[in-house]
């Protein structure tokens, strides 16, 4: 088990979509895992088997099938909780990371923010960790302040310190790994600064939990969110991992079945955690699939996953460094960054790059990556982004390099 290396060819063999040719007939070179990951067989099988052998609504059925469904669903929760070191009762299933942020913004923010209070986010946040705060600020009279991005794509923590010292900051919401810059933020420092100033903290771990060892305790956050589909799991499920003692004191967010203790005409009382925050039929098959995804990642070993990523990112930075006039955003040092690598070419618009490399089967993302404030800070409308995962190889990275060269050739430059 020591120094286990990740065998990405073995992983590829588990991921059926990678065996299919791309639309152009070339092998599929999938470099867009920051948008969503592909799924290995054990994940697809777990969901299929759930529907074929154990499907029933959970938590309320007496019959054996319902007990089996409940057990598989709650096993998914136990798996996820173990994976990020949260307590099962502090591990709430949402539909995606975005809903998980909204849950905190509404359940906590709507009732605990008042006019003049400040929520601090950063300029490199995904819209999912900006807009919910803007909405709740609009409803409460609170303000949203942004920590700027400086240098090679890191946060200006002096500004955060200033804000915490001079403003009535009640929440600091920060991304762990930027989905554009790749920057790994010092979240433990940031959440400590927040706590010392009496503010709550939320870490958006959507781009870190899939790629490196992450624990709720190590982030130091009151709440951490991530999303199933980026970590080999299915769509339709996200996670809020949080301190149960905090959650326990909050009013619920969504109301409905499963989350109540009693419903009376005059008013209702709430179920125990985590059910209080899981209104309605939960994403049952999705939790089963996410549990399988987590076990698959554990089988690979998260240290090995991270080492593989550093290796591929090193190569990716080298390949892009070799492309004439390319601007690469974010930290230079692969050890200081996660999987997403964004870049620009002066002569080719990101849309055209993505379109032209797709000819060679290479899938990369072009656009604002749901980070428009960051795009403005970088002074570009859009970037091209490549991101690797456990099923990618050095060949995939090289294929991008070759495809970029032929894209340029196609568009009339040698």
């Amino acid at each position: 088990m020591t120094e286990a290396r990740l065998d990405s060819l073995a992983v590829r063999a588990d991921v059926p979509i990678l065996a299919r040719p791309s639309a152009s007939g070339r092998p599929l070179v999938y470099l867009d895992s920051a948008a969503t990951s592909q799924k290995p067989m054990p994940v697809l099988d777990a969901m299929d088997d759930y529907y074929r052998a154990a499907n029933a609504n959970v938590h309320r059925g007496v019959y054996a099938l319902a007990a089996e469904a409940t057990e598989r669903f709650e096993q998914g929760r136990a798996d996820v909780a173990r994976f990020v070191g949260s307590r099962p009762e502090g591990t709430v299933f949402a539909k995606n990371a975005t809903e998980a942020v909204n849950l905190v913004a509404y359940a906590w923010g709507l009732r605990h923010l008042t006019a003049g209070d400040v929520v601090v986010v950063t300029e490199m946040e995904h819209h999912s960790n900006i807009v919910p705060w803007q909405i709740v600020a609009g409803l409460t009279g609170a303000r949203v302040e942004f920590v700027p991005v400086v240098d090679d794509g890191v946060l200006d923590l002096a500004v955060l310190r200033d804000l915490l010292a001079t403003e009535p900051v009640k929440m600091v919401a920060v991304v762990h790994v930027s989905n554009v810059l790749g920057t790994i933020n010092p979240v433990a420092d940031i959440t400590r600064m927040a706590r010392d100033a009496g503010a709550r903290s939320l870490v958006d771990a959507s781009q870190s939990v899939p790629h490196m060892p992450v624990s709720l305790a190590a982030t130091g956050a009151d709440a951490m969110v991530f999303t199933g589909h980026k970590m080999l799991g299915p769509t339709g499920i996200g996670v809020l991992a949080a301190d149960p003692a905090w959650l326990d004191g909050l009013e619920p967010f969504l109301g409905g079945g499963e989350m109540i203790s009693d419903v009376r005409r005059e008013g209702s009382t709430w179920a125990d955690l985590p059910h209080k925050f899981e209104a309605g039929t939960p994403p049952i098959a999705e939790a089963v699939g996410l549990g399988a995804a987590v076990r698959y990642l554990e089988g690979l070993g998260m240290d090995a996953v991270r080492a593989h990523e550093v290796e591929l990112t090193t190569r990716l930075l080298a390949v892009l460094g070799g492309v004439e006039d390319a601007t690469v955003y974010g930290p230079r040092d692969p050890a200081r960054r996660g999987s997403p690598v964004s870049f620009s070419l002066p002569d080719l618009h990101p849309h055209d790059i993505a379109q032209l490399v797709d000819r060679e089967g290479v899938c990369v993302r072009a656009g604002h990556h749901c980070a428009k404030p960051l795009m403005r800070a970088l002074g570009v409308p859009a970037t091209t982004r490549a991101s690797t995962y456990v099923y990618n190889t050095a060949d995939d990275v090289d294929a991008l390099g070759a495809a970029l060269a032929s894209a340029r050739a196609f568009m009339g430059r040698v």
């Binding site: 007496v62 409940t70 109540i260 203790s261 179920a271």
Partner: protein
């Protein structure tokens, strides 16, 4: 999964058909109502403690299934005459049994041991626990106002 006979043992059915200590007390030290949010069942447990904190009377009422009703009946017999501490210990042993742990060799849960098989029916565990959790609440609520005499 256990067979149905593990769940519906004769002992359980006999308590269900002829529950002991069913009803309410006129002068309880404490009365607690507990509901099962999954099914809507409610149980009321009335407890009369003497000055030493010993359970001298206990009655249970409300509606419920064979498991919760028989659990209440069996519990009422077992805890009658125990001190608060003893009863709290029994509650904990019973709770653990519902999560699959055998009771320790030196603890006798009496007829309630017939409920051990419920652990294999997760949807019914809450039923069996219902009266015990009501008793726990009841003892905790008196505990906050009055210390139980200990070892005297």
């Amino acid at each position: 999964m256990g067979g149905i006979e593990d769940l519906y043992q004769e002992m359980i059915l006999s308590h269900y058909r002829a529950p002991r200590n069913r009803g309410t007390l006129t002068n309880p030290t404490v009365s607690v109502t507990q509901n099962n949010p999954m099914c809507g069942d409610e149980i009321q447990v009335d407890v009369l403690l003497d000055d030493d904190g010993r359970i001298v009377e206990l009655a249970h009422s409300g509606q419920g299934c064979s498991i919760s009703q028989s659990a209440a009946s069996m519990m009422s017999e077992k805890v009658m005459g125990t001190t608060r501490d003893e009863a709290q210990h029994l509650i904990e042993v019973f709770r653990r049994m519902m999560h699959g742990d055998d009771p320790p060799a030196d603890v006798d849960l009496g007829d309630s041991e017939a409920l051990a098989g419920v652990a294999r029916f997760p949807a019914r565990v809450k039923c069996a626990l219902l009266p015990w959790m009501a008793l726990k609440d009841a003892l905790q609520s008196v505990g906050t106002t009055k210390e139980t005499p200990h070892g005297q």
